[in-house]
């Protein structure tokens, strides 16, 4: 990029534009953070290097922007890499960010060694399961491959561990299902979604979030994944715990049947990533354990939590049906600030519609008439408990007594409410989930079990005409289905 001297002058790093070479010894990590406004081009010159379990090619440029990654050298020969920086033209006006990258080499990879050991333990379990399932194909007592639940406080590196375990699993010819229960991140989907995705190929490190994308109508630059997507609609898991639990159990049922359908997946098991749950969320944790038939809980960076869980699950632990393992937190974990998280979410939404630099997509702009459709929105129960908003997350919002009476009624009310008063406030700049339920459907309770086709984005609400300007991922007719307005927003 040519720059006029003295005008829009970036910092020295970028201007010099000289390649910088880094040598990483065995078992060391080169940790680096790139702001969105810069783009770092990285090339491995020699040796073996990986980012969160995904091995990097030799002498091929990878381009990263808005990431906090680390390159790990697993083998004795270490590795050598080279990088250059440039301005990321698309994001050059992003404020609130440092104007340079931060990077350093760390020898503190204790947690990495633990994750490697954990992987080989899991792989041994998978091997045992595979062999036994082979012999006992017709027996009911099949041995499941490990189903691992990752727990830990905020910024303890749960997602990173999940990525490493899945990547390593894939590298050893497995296809584990990565379940993401943290609605803050959109894993192969939108923020606000809960997903289950078989990892049948490498992660795409260059994509937003470092996961990759779901399928498209064409051939993609990187093989896509096929996630099962449940639209929760909030980025905070505690916004409506009933709805959250409901979706988790649906996801659990589908995941279990996938395991039954596909022996390769069954022999690979499940890795479940979560939001920061504490011992106060024990009911939720119990639900997850039973929905996904979890047999291993891995607690990262919180000794107390692992001890508390040992006590709570004492029966399961003593009859060996549950194994609780603790891991150290990596010193490399970065605390993310709100604006960075927000920016990542926006980029994830953009990526759903428009793809990313390697693989652009063509979404479709159209207009719909509000009266042709039926709109719902998820109920934010934390609104009713606004005083509890800042209480520790998961602090049982719904008192048990009232919940029972509510359950008897079994209505939609505590999960979704119909939108009748349309306003820019509850539609504009929001992401809507398109369900598979026709708008003509007469029994609203079906909505709870409806799967979703995908998402659309409302760019404008024209009150006078009663119309919405929407961005549709797929060109063609807008499906006449019930729409759910999520609480996930994004301004173009």
């Amino acid at each position: 990029m040519e720059l006029i001297p003295g005008f829009n002058r970036p910092d020295a790093d970028v201007e010099s534009n000289l390649p910088i070479t880094i040598t990483i010894p065995e078992n060391h990590e080169w940790r680096f953070e790139v702001p969105f406004k810069l783009s770092l081009s990285l090339k491995i010159l020699d040796g073996i290097a990986e980012i969160f379990g995904t091995e990097l090619p030799i002498n091929t440029d990878l381009s990263f922007s808005g990431v906090k990654y680390s390159v790990y050298a697993p083998l004795p020969q270490g590795c050598k890499l080279q990088y250059t920086l440039k301005i990321n033209k698309e994001q050059s006006n992003t404020t609130n960010e440092p104007a340079s990258i931060s990077e350093y080499i760390s020898s503190d990879t204790l947690s990495m060694k633990q994750v490697v050991n954990l992987h080989f333990y899991l792989e041994k379990k998978r091997q045992e399961a595979t062999d036994r399932n082979l012999v006992n194909q017709h027996s009911v007592n099949q041995t499941p491959a490990p189903k691992v639940l990752l727990l830990g406080p905020k910024f303890s590196g749960k997602s990173t561990v999940a990525k490493i375990l899945c990547s390593y699993g894939f590298k050893m010819d497995r296809c584990p299902i990565l379940v993401n229960l943290n609605p803050r991140d959109g894993v192969f989907a939108m923020p606000g979604a809960l997903t289950a995705t078989p990892i049948s190929d490498n992660f795409d490190l260059e994509a937003v979030g470092g996961y990759g994308g779901s399928t498209t109508s064409g051939t993609t630059y990187h093989n896509p994944k096929q996630p099962l997507v449940k639209n929760y609609g909030f980025e905070d898991f505690a916004a409506n715990l009933d709805l959250y639990r409901h979706h988790i159990s649906k996801l659990g049922v589908a995941t279990m049947s996938r395991l039954e359908e596909d022996i390769a997946v069954k022999n690979s098991g499940v890795i479940i990533d979560t939001p920061a749950l504490t011992i106060k969320d024990i009911r939720l944790i119990e639900d997850i354990v039973s929905d996904f038939e979890v047999d291993h809980i891995v607690v990262i960076g919180n000794e107390k939590l692992s001890i508390d869980l040992q006590k709570k699950f004492v029966h399961k632990v003593s009859n060996n049906s549950l194994c609780i393992i603790k891991l150290s937190k990596s010193e490399g974990v970065v605390e993310l600030d709100e604006s960075y998280i927000r920016k990542c979410q926006e980029e994830t939404i953009k990526q759903y519609f428009n793809g990313y630099f390697r693989n652009p997509l063509s979404p479709f702009k159209t207009e719909i008439t509000i009266s042709d459709f039926v709109f719902y929105q998820p109920v934010d129960s934390s609104e009713f408990n606004s005083s509890l908003l800042f209480a520790p997350s998961g602090d049982s919002f719904a008192p048990d007594a009232t919940e029972e009476t509510e359950k008897k009624e079994d209505t939609l009310d505590k999960y979704y409410k119909k939108i009748d008063d349309f306003s820019a406030n509850n539609l504009e700049n929001l992401v809507l989930a398109v369900t598979q339920l026709p708008a003509t459907n007469k029994s609203p309770n079906d909505l709870l079990d409806a799967c979703i086709l995908g998402y659309v984005h409302v760019s404008k609400y024209e009150e006078s005409k009663g119309r919405l300007k929407v961005l549709l991922p797929v060109p063609g007719a807008f499906p006449r289905n019930i729409l759910i307005a999520t609480k996930i927003g994004y301004t173009e």
């Binding site: 091995e55 051939t219 994944k225 979404p363």
Partner: protein
Amino acid sequence: MSEIVQEYAQSLKELTFNSRPIIDTLTTIAAENTDEGDGILDVITARIYKCLPEQKLFALYLLDSICKNVGNPYNILIGDDIFKLFSHVYLLVDDNVRKKLQNLFETWRLTKAKGTNIPLFPPGELEKIGAFLKKAGPVNNGNELSNSRLIRDIDELLPIFHNKLNNNSNDTKLNERFNALNQLKFLLQNQKMQPNELKAVEAQLNTIKHQELNRSSTSANSSPNSTPTLRSNIPSSLPATPKVNTVPASSANDLFDRLINEGIITFEQDFNSPRVYEINYPKGNPNDHSDVFSSILGYQMIRSEYEQLKYNELNKLKVTSQSVQGFISSPNVSIQCKNLLYESKGLKCSICGKRFNTDDVGKNRKRLHLDWHFRISQKFKSSSNVQSRSWYLDDVDWAKFKDENLLEFQVNIANSTQSSSQFKPQESKEIPYVIIPSTETNMNNKCLICREQVKGSFNEELGEWCWYNCILQPGEPKGSRKIVHANCYNETRKRGALEDAHSGLKRERI
């Protein structure tokens, strides 16, 4: 004779030695001039019939190369003559070349015509060659083992068992072994085996053979079903019997020990006869023999080198659910173990870093992978690459979805699932249909590809109106009326794959 064919005949004369470049060039010319297929085949057959015996093999190799790499129309046009050509060459060459011819023939049995799932040559012709080779007897039998030789061995044993069974139909053990042999034959016909696995199978067969011949050589010889070919073959395969002892003890015994340890096979031994291996069928499930047998055996046999290495390394790790916490904090796993993630899978893609095994399967996968990279980058360079996000699947479709469909090995996968599905309980071939959405009032529809009209008909079992032989156009949500004939869809997909394959070919020439 057209100019091209004349030139072809001219170049063909240069094929006086086994020249890869000449064969490749002539194959490429054949691929580019399929219109002249008849003429080209005529000059090749003429060459095979007329050239010096020692040069016949090379012309046959050329024919083989064209049929395998180009396929249609060549393999179809020559199909009915292939036995004549093969036997003609076979009768005029020495033992060395005969062995090569046998190998060539074995590849024909295992190869499918390019881009399809049908055999390279008509099965009837291949059978004729098989029978012919059987009559001709094994060539100077080298130590090479092959699927087809073992199949022949089994074919010898089957009539003996069959006879015995006729005399003694209540002998369940006999029955089981007869079934097992049949299964093994099936397996050998459908799967490529590693040499050591072949040896293991051979050892097993020899044991059975040895025993049968010892116990009842009289009955075998006197039985009306023992055909002359059987008798003529027994002497020739007898020298193989002592080889049971020379089979490298490790490979065969390892396999059997593993099978025994896992309870799949048991053996009984009395003083007079060698070990007799028995397949242990799960009790109370007598109808499932075939399935259990073939998938167990099938799996054990296709464990690749990498999988064996992985198995051994993981076995060395002493860790259980109870000791896992200590294991995790312990020093690192050995470098050999760690390398299961890296150098044990020796082929690394330079574009994306993905790793592949160094065996043939791995090499093939890497080749498909690189072709895929190439195709993708071509597509992204051309401006025609417009795509958009697909809709998500619903729970049921997702649970049934196979991730192979997302990967670059699709062509391969399609073939391998084809063969492996034969080991699974056969799903009855159902007619595809699309349920007409309840909101739909117009029952008449048309296929978006061939534009032919499709009428709705009522399915009583489902209680729904359906469009038969159709599928929803991929990417369409449930409830859409955009349908295509399943056949039309498969055809267009095949064509797409073919075009893709061609683009791969072009790249190689550049």
